[in-house]
Amino acid sequence: MAQIAALVWLRYRLLLARAAPRVVILQVIVFLFMMVAALGAYFVLVLLFRGLPSQMAAEALQVAMALVWGAWTVVPLITGSFDDSTDLSKLLLYPMSPARMTLGVLLSDLVSAPAGFTVLLSVPMGWTRRPADALITGAAAALFAVHMVALSESLRIALWDLLRSRRTRDLLILLAPLTGILVYAVQGIAFRRASLSNPAMLLTLRASRYLRFLPGGLVAGSVTNASGGRYGASLGWLALLLVLSAATVAAMALLVRRVQAGEAEAVSRAKYRGAADRRRVRAPSAFPIRGAAATVARKELLLFWRDPRLKVYVIQAAVFPAIWVLFMTLWTPVSAPGAPWRAGLFLAAGGFTLFGSFILGANTFGFDGDAASTLFLFPISRRALLTGKNIALWGVLMGFYSPMMVLLAAVTRQWALLPLALLCTGSALLLSLSIGNLLSIYVPYRLPTKRQNPLAMRGGGQGCVGFLLLIVGWLAAAILALPLAAALTLPRALHRSAWYCFTLPAAVGYAWWTYRSLLSLAAERLERREPEIIEAVGPKGSQAGL
């Protein structure tokens, strides 16, 4: 018993140890929020149960349980490969029976997700009418939770070597934001389709035909039958769920026993595969420019290409214009291609680059992370260092934004404005980078490390004051961009296209001059703030590495 308690304590301790105090407070707030959400879900489900036809409500429960099952099974597979607290190989040293280890790990998983369990419980509890129903739904939810935890652990143990390989982890880091974007796109398209079709069609869906014999379906069967007073059928479904849960736990215990008996065979295999993965990397072609700035730019481009974390941020930086394109594609009437407001929307897309590029440009040393201390050891001028970083970022972002602008031109049929929009984008990027350089020096912050869960990578580490400064910085960039916007839009608004001959070169010149001026200022300040930047972006506690 002491060993099982120790495992539960270990999980809880490691979960808290990873988090800074303010994150713990945030987690408490999230937990409370989840409790309120669970209560809300309970009432919504009661209303749903009372308000909808019983067949439709049962279908909704089937879908809900299937989604819970999918999420609870798959998400730990993704997050677990980044999480030392779930690393079974660390426990193999201890004299622990497979049964105890299985039980300990199961309990650890359950206690580390109390909010999720509450939500899970609330869904079937929404169907409760009588005390007997509560007993059955509670038992069904508990068995379902045990089954899901055991299943995800079994999968994690079985796929250990695959999940722990660097390539899988890189892929998972990259997949997380891509999935988010995909969900957003599918959601947008689905709403668009739903608004065009007959909503009554949704009432005729029969998900239970496909889902009733899945684990979630067993829960739904037990709960809906109990609610309808058919306790025999309900207990029958519950018995099936009990058998399934017991089988899953037994399978997990078997896998744990095999890992123990094979002296961490899976771990050894992972190491072996890791060694096999160490293949040679193709040397890049020669970089066309020479000099210190070019050397930094080349290094940045290599890292953008090879580091999945950086790719994630580049993708996020491209999300804003991408969403803009999606919005334009889905919601603008095709019948009015020449409407003047569409030209304005098209040119405004350039302004979105200010948003997007800020994600990357305003914390340029954060991406170096621990290696910032190495970068600052090199005796190159800080102007060249910043220039190199800016060249790389400008190139990468223009590489993303340019095709989007072409796509947007095709959607809005504003081909004539495409060169203007590209010019606007390139110049806006320069202004964004010029403010971003200063923010990188004065508000640097540590980014999540490579070991962290990719699903938790969206949060910045800059704190409230830093976040406010970022907003102020973005506003400053937006204000700096006003002359640019005027130079690009006024000739069109006043129907004086000939003015572009003067306003365009002036706009580009203005952006370039602003960038160069602020770059000089930033380079001078950087030289004096390097220790503070290292302290901010490096590993936590590095300053105390005595």
């Binding site: 005796p379 290292i534 105390a544 590495g545």
Partner: protein, 256 residues
């Protein structure tokens, strides 16, 4: 004839973290061609001192001059003259070993042909030739240390700061690196060296500074330190005497 400035001069170097004094008013002068050892128990302030000396950590008070240049006021001039192997390696893990060295060579302004020649020789010396085209993230800790050390040696720095250079390094490479470091000091280069392995320090260093709880408790060659500690033994005996350490294995009741 003009006298050359001392390679390393620290005056009143102090660092306070949240009220805890990590390094307390450290005064230090290291001469040209010296192999200078920095010793101390865990948490003594060795790494903090080195980080301040190379400009990676701002001191709470005090100053450091490297080859006559103030570390805080003339950081670029200082960094041109130093090579650093930090305790935390902090490499760009998504570059290959040879790419990282090539990047470092360019950053130190080495001519391409000279850089290529030096990189080839360093890869051979470190035994990294076979793995030069693999990503650093795939390297073992020892291999990563070798790459970092190679990068620190690449531009033939006037002062070399090495924090635990031999931990994780195999015996063959360790011997080769020791020979290179000796050769460097013979050519007038200065090495500031930090290690827990006292035998290595005793074997290599001409002078040693011993830090304890942020304070300099002894500095000089072995004879001077013996005199100060009133001990006639190895560097380990001197070290233990100066930091006042107790090594009472009998204190473990269940082993008695």
């Amino acid at each position: 004839m003009t006298t050359q400035p001392k390679p390393v001069v620290a005056e009143g170097l102090t660092k306070v973290f949240d009220g805890n004094v990590a390094v307390n008013a450290l005064d230090l002068v290291v001469d040209r061609g010296e192999f200078f050892g920095f010793l101390g128990p865990n948490g003594a302030g060795k790494t903090t001192s080195i980080r301040m000396m190379v400009g990676l950590l701002r001191p709470t008070s005090g100053s450091v001059w490297i080859c006559g240049y103030d570390v805080l006021d003339q950081p670029i001039e200082v960094k041109r003259r130093i090579g650093v192997l930090p305790e935390e390696l902090n490499l760009y893990e998504r570059l290959t070993g040879s790419e990282y060295l090539s990047f470092s060579a360019r950053m130190y302004g080495l001519a391409p042909t000279e850089a290529d020649k030096r990189i080839e020789e360093l890869l051979d010396l470190m035994g990294l030739r076979e793995d030069q085209d693999k990503l650093i993230v795939e390297y073992s800790h020892g291999m990563q240390k070798k790459v970092a050390l190679a990068a620190a040696l690449l531009h033939d720095p006037e002062v070399l700061f090495l924090d635990e250079p031999f931990s994780g390094i195999d015996a063959i490479s360790g011997r080769a690196i020791r020979d290179v470091l000796r050769l460097m000091t013979q050519r007038g280069r200065t090495i500031v060296f930090c290690s827990h392995v006292l035998e290595v320090v005793e074997h290599l260093c001409t002078r040693v500074a011993i830090l304890h709880q942020g304070n300099l408790v002894g500095i000089g060659d072995l004879a001077t330190l013996r005199q100060k500690s009133h001990t006639e033994g190895s560097l380990e005996d001197v070290f233990l005497a100066l930091v006042g350490a107790k090594t009472d294995a009998e204190g473990l009741s269940w082993l008695r």
